[in-house]
Amino acid sequence: MAEQNTRQDTLEYAQRLGDDAVVLGHRLSEWCSNAPFLEEDLALANTALDFIGRARMYYGYAAELADDGRDEDDFAYLRDQRDYRNLLLHELPRGDFAFTQARQYFIDVYNQLFLEELRQSADERLAAIAAKAVKESRYHLRRSRDWMLRLGDGTEESHRRTQTAVDNLWGYTHELFELDPLEQRLVDAGVAVDVAALRDPWREQVGTLLDEATLRQPADDWAVRGGREGYHTENLGHLLTEMQALHRAYPGCSW
């Protein structure tokens, strides 16, 4: 019985992590052909593909656990927004380039810490996914960290835009470190990452970088949460409409 519950919880957990990855991957893919210059366009598209690939691994595992005939595409393309459980930070519109890089930086620092822990998971499949993904995240972090320094300590305008992005994103970062009962059960079972413990190292790393980039760390005077319960900002619906349109119009299509 306990084993059956853990299986159900793990399915939900893999799906959550897949949701984070696919939503951010889609947001990044929106830069394709829109980035400031060609080299960055390719680099962003690469990063987008890393996240979409990560989503496939998580969804693929969730589909196996579900064992009800659904595959990874069903998870990505045939669920509505209330069924999506991504953390809200991932779904915010891409904004300007500073916003995209600041969000990416916050998430890359988080992912590096998170995936290092997930590698130790008692669930071998999740541990294997993490081992592969953490290498990508190290590279993503190298890029987004560079951009934070470049933009924060750059021109007057790049500084202003980056500070605005940091201010507007900050309230969405608290949710990254919250555990709901399901994740707490999985932490107890040694499967999930205790994200509450990641908060201090994340804050330390981010705080140091913000200083270095001459940016100000915002006050903790507002917080938005709800992604893990399926309560989203108005942005996710639009994203899914676009992302799922093709699959819904031509079910199972491929090329």
Partner: protein, 95 residues
């Protein structure tokens, strides 16, 4: 300093089995570190390389088309500089 145009860099990659770096193309970047990252993203995504060099294009001194007469023609009439010019004695079997 605000640059209107990003610098051009030449990219050299050493492949998995290769011993030397080979020129693979060029790209634009703000500085050498960024050039290295873009080289990774643009030229190694199919697992082509194990080592990357980038160098600012303007730091390369190149010979010119006009130089070719002075540079290369003089060696055309000096066949003795090529190993094929020499006939091996029959006694040498394993060269």
């Amino acid at each position: 300093m605000i640059k209107e145009h990003l610098d051009l860099y030449e990219v050299f990659i050493r492949g998995k089995r290769g011993l030397d770096h080979k020129h693979v193309g060029s790209l634009h970047a703000e500085d050498p570190e960024q050039a290295l990252e873009y080289a990774r993203d643009i030229y190694t995504r199919r697992g082509e390389g194990v080592s990357i060099w980038v160098v600012r294009s303007r730091d390369i001194t190149a010979s010119q088309e006009d130089d070719s007469e002075a540079f290369y023609d003089p060696s055309n009439d000096k066949p003795y500089r090529l190993a094929t010019y020499y006939r091996l004695p029959d006694e040498v079997n394993n060269m």
